[in-house]
């Protein structure tokens, strides 16, 4: 068997996609003009699928901070956090995140993916157990796989199913770590965090909340779902990313456990990768200041999310019952979904199309994400494009 033979099935699927849905495989952002506009196939489009919730990728202060950092400290760190890759900016950002989240310790990682890989593969190991929500992100699954802990899924957003599994483990007398997300990336729904915290306390286990899609989006101060649900003290570890509301790239873990720093020495994904470039760290620091000082961005984001959700619901699209900055429409097959996705692109609107197995239940999703940077007129244009295609909806 040749080395690539095992990819034959994948090659067949890819060829099929190329033949019937080729445009989907070949999206290139030829020019990015703002947080909400790009050029695809030579045509300007409105971006409605970027996770750029607060629109900070083009924020003046963030760009200025990033430019200054690159001029002062160069294009990359060329080293691990454990060697030459910890610059004063990394340390400052860790302190600023701790202050923002009101936690004792923070570790900054090179990406959000690496943050999950590092924490989940290190905090628990052989003989210990991870209980994760079935709809958790691939980075959480991959982190679990990299570590040696026993990994058990519970049904998505189902505290009763979680409790059943906690009961089965009650005799085990070992460390158990529950992992959930603030807002789930595909469907935009939130974890029932207050109920999960009740179980965490009842069974004396640990809890991680990945606030990748909820940081800057939920809570009075933008600290995420734990703040909104008023359970911050009961969440042991907060994971987050800089690549969504903070508009850069990188990730972090914050905790009140003073021993969190030990992870730096035990975690291979922390040690054996280069640290984030100063430009990303500097823009993230500036973005964090914006999140703290401009709560009106969250208000704008939610106005946009509610408006689009209402319009799509009125048009008969199968959207989730609660408004969210992530609005997903589920289709049973790719032909249906592609017709709408391509129709939207023809009407100068870009949304994500997500295929299984990346979707929760095997369906195909058209996934919109809103931004505070979308003007009300842009949201209307997005909704109008969906409206012009809605004759196909049930």
């Amino acid at each position: 068997m040749a080395i690539f033979d095992k990819f034959q099935k994948l090659a067949v699927v890819r060829e099929e996609l190329e033949r019937h849905h080729g445009r989907f495989l070949n999206i290139v952002m030829e020019d990015i003009r703002s947080a909400t506009e790009a050029v695809i196939d030579g045509k300007p489009v409105i971006l409605a699928g970027t996770n750029n919730y607060l629109g900070l990728t083009f924020n003046d202060a963030c760009i200025q901070a990033s430019c200054q950092a690159v001029k002062k400290e160069g294009t990359g760190t060329t080293g691990s956090r454990m060697a030459n890759g910890t610059l004063s900016g990394h340390v400052a950002l860790e302190q600023e995140l701790s202050d923002f989240l009101d936690r004792k310790k923070t570790i900054v990682f090179s990406t959000g993916y690496v943050a999950n890989l590092a924490i989940l593969s290190t905090l628990v190991g052989p003989g210990e157990v991870i209980l994760l929500d079935g709809d958790c992100h691939a980075s959480i699954y991959d982190g679990c796989k990299l570590g040696g802990a026993e990994v058990i899924r519970f049904r998505h957003n189902n505290p009763a199913d979680l409790e059943k599994r906690l009961q089965r483990l009650a005799e085990r007398k070992t460390n158990i770590l529950i992992v959930v997300e603030g807002i789930y990336s595909m469907m935009g729904d939130r974890a029932p965090l207050a109920e999960i915290v009740v179980l965490k306390k009842k069974y004396g286990v640990n809890l991680i909340v990945d606030e990748a899609h909820s940081l800057g989006v939920l809570g009075e101060n933008g600290r995420g779902l734990a703040e909104e649900a008023k359970v911050e003290e009961d969440v042991d570890f907060v994971i987050g990313t800089f690549s969504k509301s903070l508009g850069a790239i990188g990730g972090f873990c914050s905790s009140n456990h003073p021993e969190l720093d030990l992870v730096r020495y035990a975690s291979r994904p922390y040690v054996f990768t280069a640290s984030s470039a100063s430009s990303a760290i500097a823009s993230t620091r500036a973005a964090l200041q914006v999140i703290r000082s401009q709560p009106e961005l969250r208000t704008q984001l939610w106005d946009n999310a509610r408006n689009l959700h209402r319009r799509l619901q009125d048009l008969g699209y199968k959207v989730g019952s609660e408004p969210s900055p992530i609005i997903a429409i589920r289709y049973d097959n790719i032909d249906e979904a592609y017709a709408i996705w391509n129709g939207l692109l023809e009407r100068s609107i870009y949304v994500n199309m997500v295929l299984p197995p990346a979707t929760p239940d095997g369906g195909v999703l058209l996934r919109c994400s809103l931004s505070a940077a979308h003007s009300p007129q842009q949201v209307e244009k997005i909704a109008d494009a969906f409206a012009s295609l809605s004759k196909n909806q049930d």
């Binding site: 079935g134 026993e150 990994v151 058990i152 899924r153 089965r168 299984p356 197995p357 239940d361 095997g362």
Partner: protein
Amino acid sequence: MKEHDDVLQKILEILAVTLPEGGPEIKADLDLIDDLGLDSMKVLEILESLEDSFDISIPMNVMPGVRTANDLARELQKIIKSE
């Protein structure tokens, strides 16, 4: 304690209702993915049904070693025994 054959029988029953009609005949030693055509979503669905049937939690760690219904029955028997 459940015998291997009881566990296997339940797996085959669940496979029969999960797989579409007109597919290959379900046998204990066929590869669940390559021969029976299950995808990862269907495998998860089957595992959840088995968890409910036997009132157990099936760790994901056991799955890389499972290719057939027989393999799965062996793993489930170990879990049932340990719980």
